[in-house]
């Protein structure tokens, strides 16, 4: 059974239809242009762009203020939806996107397959127990995704802001105060209340620095270069406790994500099922909150975690001039 679950989890990681907000780095500098990418597909690969009219909410939360983002700032490229924005002042920021509900009709077998693919095991079991595996489905689904990123050095309390989405993850600690070796408790809320005993999938994408490279060529998706220099995810399925909390084991630096689907039978006319999907992404650094080079892939001298560029420049200049005069005098 455990083996089957692992196979399902692995399959889910490669073929699910989730939505994620991602950044090339989750450590940004204040008041600089940046991009948030909306992936609709898997964590690694986006299958399509989301049009603006489908977005019920696009918000940025920082400095205690939630700002609605003008969706005209969204653009699409290579099946990825992109939000270009300028970062604000230093602090922990949250971006959230909620997509309006849509309907999908599925034949019984296709619906069963989707339940397997996306790891909605409770519903699959319910269908088996209630002889419903032969029934076609009309499902109304909506997706609600969030990402937490760090701007500048100073962390803030915005990470725990409740956006009021039907389903959402709320970290109980600031991920940007953590480093490997610490666990992060995350609470899952359904209609604003803790959702107990619910299956949550936790994945991570580790920087190459920490791991040998395992390229996306190994996936079922061939030639996927749409990565960020990460090794592939290790996905774990966990259940929330009685308070709706799951514990994320932070054992390495890298990008972590949580995903879950809340799928119920529906009594609404014309529907058989209703689902709400939630994901949360964030990055764990080495415990320092400054926007250093590890996160920007910038290992050059200018990295904020290293020697400031101007110091390197001044020292080099002094060194060359000093050496010049020394060799000139020695002549």
């Amino acid at each position: 059974m455990k083996k089957l679950l692992l196979v399902i989890i692995a399959y889910c990681a490669l073929t699910s239809h989730d939505m994620f907000l991602k950044l090339s780095t989750y450590f940004l500098e204040p008041n600089k242009p940046a991009v948030i990418s909306l992936y609709n597909g898997t964590f690694e690969k986006s299958d399509n762009v989301i049009s603006r009219d489908r977005m019920a909410d696009v918000s940025l939360q920082g400095q205690g203020v939630r700002t609605a983002v003008d969706t005209s700032q969204w653009s699409g490229k290579d099946s990825i939806t992109l939000l270009n924005f300028t970062t604000g002042t230093a602090g922990t920021w949250v971006a959230g996107v909620s997509i309006k509900p849509r309907l999908i009709e599925m034949k019984a077998q296709a619906f069963n397959d989707y339940l397997v693919h996306d790891g909605v095991l409770e519903m699959l079991q319910w269908r088996k127990d209630n002889n419903a595996t032969e029934k076609d489905a009309i499902e109304q689904y909506a997706k609600h995704v969030k990402t937490i990123f760090q701007v500048g050095d100073k962390t803030s309390e915005d990470y725990k802001t409740i956006f009021g989405y039907p389903i959402e993850f709320i970290p109980l600690e600031n991920p940007y105060d953590l480093h490997p070796g610490h666990d992060l408790k995350v609470q899952l809320l359904w209609q604003g209340k803790p959702l107990p005993n619910h299956l949550v999938y936790i994945g991570k994408s580790v920087r190459d620095h920490d791991h040998s490279h395992d390229h996306a060529h190994d996936h079922a998706h061939t030639h996927d270069h749409n990565h960020e220099g990460h090794t592939h995810d290790n996905v774990n399925g966990l259940r929330t406790d009685s308070l709706g909390i799951v514990k994320v084991t932070i054992d390495q630096t890298g990008v972590y994500y949580l995903r879950t689907i809340h799928l119920i039978n529906s009594e609404k006319e014309g529907l058989t099922h209703e689902s709400n999907w939630a994901t949360l992404t964030f990055e764990v650094g080495d415990g320092h909150t400054h926007s250093h080079s590890h996160h920007t892939h910038d290992h050059s001298i200018d990295s904020e975690g290293g020697i400031p560029l101007y110091i390197f420049g001044i020292v080099s200049l002094i060194l060359v001039i000093g050496l010049y005069f020394w060799f000139n005098k020695k002549k």
Binding site: D78, G229, T296, H299, G306, G313, W326, F327
Partner: protein, 224 residues
């Protein structure tokens, strides 16, 4: 040449090779919004601000004589880095950025050491064939550029075209950055003080190579 003029030339050349080069969210934003041209721009920016690549090339230019030599060696370097930049990116092969940058730092050290006659003085032997070494270091620098390029979110469409455009940008940036370096070196070659200038800059290359190498290795082990 007046002292003031010499110092001005130093000041002109140093910032060119010391500017930052890395993958930033700003660059990612440019790539996301600009099509293939943006890859040329980011490639050029990366090379113009790529101090380690330019320090190595400055060392190469110091050694060679005449415009024909410059073309030959720069072409060898260009062929070398184009092979690994395009090949490794297309195939998704990459290394840890700190480690590849550490090797690139060693190439800077190598060139300064060679220019100062280190092989003859220390090993009592002539230095390896420079054209071959420039080609080999070109391959290494290209792998570093590829690793950097792969840090971007490139998307799936026109993948090869994006890599080639980035490479074209690197070549254009290289030309733009090399012009003032060549100008300063050639100008100074006619001066009496060229010997001191030559020794000063190449000693600096050795020190900078060691410093950059230590920095990258330290960063590798300390997770920066």
């Amino acid at each position: 040449m007046q002292l003031k003029t010499k110092i001005l030339l130093f000041v002109l050349i140093i910032p060119i090779v010391l500017l930052a080069h890395g993958v930033s969210p700003e660059d990612q934003a440019i790539l996301n919004n600009g099509g293939l041209i943006s890859y040329i721009l980011v490639g050029a920016k990366h090379m113009v601000t790529g101090y380690d690549h330019l320090l190595f090339l400055a060392g190469v230019i110091f050694y060679i004589k005449g415009f024909r030599d410059i073309i030959t060696f720069i072409t060898a370097f260009t062929i070398g880095h184009s092979i690994t930049l395009i090949g490794a990116t297309y195939l998704g092969i990459k290394a840890d950025e700190h480690l590849i940058d550490a090797v690139i730092a060693l190439s800077v050290l190598y060139k300064g050491f060679e220019n100062l006659g280190g092989f003859e003085k220390l090993f009592k032997s002539s230095s390896p064939n420079l054209l071959m070494m420039v080609f080999i270091f070109g391959l290494i620098h290209g792998f570093g550029l590829s690793t950097r390029l792969q840090s971007f979110d490139l998307g799936q469409n026109q993948f090869l075209a994006k890599i080639i455009c980035f490479n074209i940008g690197v070549e254009l940036g290289q030309i733009v950055a090399l012009i003032p370096i060549i100008f300063v070196i050639i100008k100074w070659q006619k001066m009496k003080s060229y010997d001191a200038f030559y020794k000063a800059v190449n000693t600096y290359l050795v020190i900078a190579g060691i410093g950059l190498f230590i920095f990258q290795i330290y960063s590798f082990f300390n997770g920066h």
